[in-house]
């Protein structure tokens, strides 16, 4: 049974006041708050388990290594990876995508190669590919979208015919909320033997991911957007790719043997995990994934859909409101503007009323350019938000709009 009050109780950060007003936190697409279990997991780690891992023969190191590798197995099972060593721990989605771009790029790019992205990518899933293209004198292809924020699948097919070396698409757009038909898009790419990386940063907290069912070649996300700590994320990659790809960073556990002339590299997953790993954050991520699994994706999705529908209906009554991102398949993200009001002004006044939203281009400048706007106000909901908070928010938006017009 989904018990909203019980869930809220687990999140200490929700119960603060800002400017003497109860915090309404709608900046979840930027980062979510963390349940007590994660805070306590980290504290426990430093009190009782702290150790450098993998090569220590002593007890603490053994225990910490065990826990770390168990977290890897759990993450693998969470997204249904075939093998635990297909999970590469990174500091976040951005690093995961940079790793993939760098290493896969070095393996596959040739002068003039192309890479295919979409018109709604976060900079973290755009700039690494763009820079790779620049490096190889290649071409960045962009799948267009329509005014509702939906991918143009027709155009996608034609772009695939240019045989890009990889397709990089976001599962869910952070700026528009669009949930892309990634499974179909992957199938279409695979029909032409083109591998696909899915940026799952905005997906993992909201929807069940099955990398085998999707059949994606890579999948990336950050823990901190899914109730986990900062500093942890992962890159899932199909074994065949990870085996073939050259390492990304050097030093520490990723090395097998070293002489001054030559270095050989460790097996998967260690080959891609240079330096002392962030054990604390990886254990925190595991706890967060368990929190999600225990809460249940279905319950989460049902609740968030309710929030999305309710908020959309309430906001629609505000004169002059414009929504950006109106795809039928949409996550609990609402990007909007009111008349000519600058998003910065709206955000500033909402803040003063205790409401945390994000304003600006949301690291998706090309999306803003598409709509020819400087940015939007974005409210994004998590499992712990309430319709009551939405009421407060909508009233605040009305008040601010009045002040600003």
């Amino acid at each position: 049974m989904f018990d909203l009050e019980a869930i809220r109780e687990q999140f200490p950060a929700l119960h603060q006041k800002v400017y003497n007003k109860p915090l309404v936190y709608f900046d979840n697409a930027a980062t979510t708050h963390k349940p007590l279990a994660i805070i306590e997991r980290i504290s426990h780690y430093y009190r009782c388990e702290n150790s450098n891992i993998h090569r220590g023969v002593h007890y603490l190191s053994q225990q910490a290594t065990e826990a770390f590798e168990e977290a890897r197995r759990f993450a693998a099972s969470m997204i249904n990876a075939v093998k635990a060593h297909e999970i590469i721990f990174t500091k976040g989605a951005t690093e995961a995508i940079n790793l993939a771009a760098h290493s896969f790029g070095r393996m596959r790019m040739k002068p003039g190669s192309s890479i295919l992205v979409t018109a709604m990518e976060h900079h973290s899933n755009l700039v690494p590919w763009q820079q790779l293209c620049l490096e190889y004198n290649g071409k960045l292809l962009v799948t267009p979208m329509d005014e509702l924020g939906q991918i143009d699948l027709q155009a996608y097919t034609q772009l695939l015919d240019q045989q890009p070396v990889i397709v990089a698409i976001t599962h869910t757009s952070n700026a528009l909320g669009t949930i892309n038909p990634v499974k179909t898009m992957i199938r279409m790419a695979h029909d032409r033997n083109i591998p696909v990386l899915v940026d799952g940063a905005q997906a993992i907290a909201h929807t069940e991911i099955d990398v085998q069912d999707l059949d994606c070649d890579f999948f990336a996300f950050s823990a901190h957007k899914a109730y986990g700590p900062m500093g942890a994320g992962l890159l899932y990659g199909k074994e065949k790719w990870l085996e073939a790809m050259p390492p990304y960073q050097f030093g520490g556990e990723m090395v097998d043997s070293v002489s001054f002339d030559k270095t050989t590299f460790n097996v998967l997953p260690f080959k891609f995990e240079a330096g002392t790993p962030n054990v604390e954050a990886v254990l925190g991520m595991e706890t967060a994934l368990r929190f999600i699994r225990n809460t249940g994706y279905e319950a989460i999705a049902t609740h968030e859909k309710e929030l999305l529908d309710y908020a959309t209906a309430q906001l629609s009554q505000i004169p002059g409101i414009r929504f950006f991102g109106q795809a039928p398949e949409k996550a609990s993200v609402i990007s909007f503007l009111i008349g000519d009001v600058h998003p910065f002004d709206l955000g500033t006044l909402l803040d003063k009323m205790g409401i945390a939203v994000r304003t600006g281009h949301h690291c998706a400048q090309t999306v803003m350019d598409f709509f020819n706007i400087p940015g939007t106000v974005r409210a994004s909901f998590a499992v712990y938000n309430t319709t009551h908070e939405i009421d407060t928010f909508v009233a605040a938006v009305k008040k601010a709009a009045l002040m600003l017009s």
Binding site: Y19, F344, D345, L349, K352, T359, G360, P374, M403, L404
Partner: protein, 145 residues
């Protein structure tokens, strides 16, 4: 009026309000009233990048005084700009350089000037002082001749 006089005047105007909302209402009004920058200066050349709201600033030096005009695409930012222009425009370079802005704390607008408010105001103030510096140097050099 000296800069300090103007600051006191502004403080008084805000002091009548207890509620943040009235202060911001005043700020918005001031923002709306801001005399616009001459259109030909609203170019990238005069743009001060502030990430979320844009700020354009122009400075001229006339009779030993700095004349500032400015604009922003966000009205709250414009409101604060209008305060800054009231304070600094028509003042002597050295007075601008010696001024401080702590009075903004008192009137409850401090966080609009925090380094990460992303509204470009801090960069704008830096730029204003830079202009003052340049004009001062220029006039020092000239008077030496």
């Amino acid at each position: 009026m000296t800069i300090t006089d103007i600051q006191n005047k502004i403080s008084e105007e805000f002091a009548v309000f207890d509620d943040w909302i009235d202060k911001y209402n005043l700020l918005v009004e001031m923002g709306k009233d801001l005399p616009l920058i001459d259109a030909r200066y609203k170019t990238n050349n005069h743009l001060i990048s502030g990430c979320q709201s844009k700020v354009w600033l122009h400075a001229a030096y006339e009779d030993g005084k700095v004349i500032f005009t400015a604009d922003s695409d966000a009205v709250i930012t414009r409101g604060i700009i209008s305060l800054l222009i009231r304070m600094y425009s028509g003042q002597k370079p050295e007075d601008i350089l010696n001024s401080d802005l702590s009075f903004l704390d008192d009137i409850g607008l401090k966080d609009q000037l925090s380094p990460n408010r992303s509204n470009g105001l801090l960069s704008m103030i830096k730029q204003m002082k830079l202009y003052a510096q340049v004009f001062k140097l220029k006039s020092d050099t000239e008077s030496n001749h």
